[in-house]
Symmetry: C2
Subunit: 365 residues, 2 copies
Amino acid sequence: MDRLPTIEDVARAAQVSRQTVSNVLNTPAIVKPETRKRVEVAIRKLAYRPHASARRLRMRKSSTIAIRLDPMTNGISGALLDRFLHALTEQAGARGIRILLFTAADPAAEIEQIRKLRAGADVDAFVLTATFHGDPRTEWLVENDVPFVTFGRPWGANDMNNPKHLWVDVDGFAGMREATIHLIDQGSSRIGFVGWPSLSGTGDDRRRGWQAAVEERLSLSDAAPGARDLAALSLSVEDRLDDARHAVVALLESDDRIDGLVCASDTLALGAMIAAASLGRSGLPIIGFDNSPVGQALGLSSVDQALDEVAGGALELLLGETGGDLVHRDGAAGDTRHRLITPHLVIRQPLRLLGTDAATTPTAA
Amino acid sequence: MDRLPTIEDVARAAQVSRQTVSNVLNTPAIVKPETRKRVEVAIRKLAYRPHASARRLRMRKSSTIAIRLDPMTNGISGALLDRFLHALTEQAGARGIRILLFTAADPAAEIEQIRKLRAGADVDAFVLTATFHGDPRTEWLVENDVPFVTFGRPWGANDMNNPKHLWVDVDGFAGMREATIHLIDQGSSRIGFVGWPSLSGTGDDRRRGWQAAVEERLSLSDAAPGARDLAALSLSVEDRLDDARHAVVALLESDDRIDGLVCASDTLALGAMIAAASLGRSGLPIIGFDNSPVGQALGLSSVDQALDEVAGGALELLLGETGGDLVHRDGAAGDTRHRLITPHLVIRQPLRLLGTDAATTPTAA
């Protein structure tokens, strides 16, 4: 036989009906012992395996979680989602769950993909990343009662106590506060913050962590005048190395008393390192966020997002505490609906850079 | 209804048998027009969709390709497979094919996973990475007639003309030869090679590319004595930044005439950059291989593996030229069984580093 045996093949071999084979597989107690024996012999002889797809159909359970994978863009902090995917795949695999990847050009296309995957019963649940305020995907998923968890909190009024959906996130406030306090403990007294333009809940949270540390630890009468001049010390740039580099050059040229920088991502921090080096200040203490491989290679200190815990939290929320069914636990309240992971600071001795202005401009050979 | 409608629901609503609904879906011509109409109305009313799993079962075709995803290890050149996964997912998605991820601790466990996925008809074909000489996975897949393609050539006697299986790979010989010739054209005349220990077909291929360029372009009577002293100029180290750094420090200390380095990976090249900087030679021309995000951030020149072409080639081989069925084309011969992709050199102006010895040693905060 050059194809896999089917239930019909088994029925023919055992000279019973298709339904009887099905009964032997699913409710053997109702089948007469001698009939059951005949079917079981045929199953063994043909090496018949009930198809996984068929079993899934019966159980409405595919043991599969789907996640959108985007084209690579930023290879520094952008690799964060790849590292999350590795952690998620490992931890899901240990529980017998597989990860299905799909692509979508925009939120509407992603909703359509989710609808198809869900209608086909191919996927039990979804993990969403890169969520944003007013995200149509999460609204659609909630309305259609599709099990999902987001990596990224909803940033709504009740997201801690009664969130609209399951979420897991990293406590950016705590991470950036710890990074800033570390610099203060090491002697910095005028610390700048390099972050993203507002509207980013995640970025604003990290900015507040820096602000809280400065307000807690640096008094108004501190040695460095205006150490708490928050508006003048805070930059907002897109998450691109060159944008960060230009903005930090301008900041350091306008204020030579700055003696430390904390940054909302390793991309921004690397831009800041190159900026400082180009001004002959490659010893300036700088801390990033993400603990990226690029940062590690350069000896950049950074806040590590503890992606193993993020992945584990996402799966726990989807599977429930028992590790049993993949179901939307919408009856539950409080912290059974989210996980806020505490990141940790990794301190390294940085490589010192000698900047060149053309550093990041590739040319074809 | 708080669950998806089933074929039984449609049968009940249309007051026909389950078989009749099945006939309307699969062989409508044999169903009486008025019965067919009644069933179609019920299908629309209930928003019934034949389960994708069921359809797949019928077609023995899941439109899914599976690939093993490993835990992250090396964040520099190790990110290459992540970039390949992005390219593969994008290009598969454009053809309506999904990527399923699984994990396995060793080749035996991977074979067992493949067996399960295949028996369940969940997956049509497999993409294998990190293949090695005498790989038990490829032998098993060939024996069991499972469609697959490897990223990495088999390195057997006939792998170009009559390979044992479909493969796609990057021409490391051509890439490293081009990189070496570029350095010679820029004035280098004593060029070292930093590669991996032998037994690596891929590494040996790249080493031969360097050797070929040196033998072609640097004559025995060249200005630099012993420019073609290949054994003394070739290093073999594991693909780790610190190992490369130590080996290159030793090489440069033992031979101060070396005026260029080509490296089998960006990991090795970054180690070489740090080594050169620590000896006050941060201007030493160095070219890596992989065009990694880390290398890009540091302005490292590197050989780009053209991963979009690799992914496209893998899919073409699996799908056949028509883009039709996912089948093992074992009747075909010659270049329809492999794709050898030509990489291209990307030249950048490097960041100059001021090395510190403790650069890569992280400490907890």
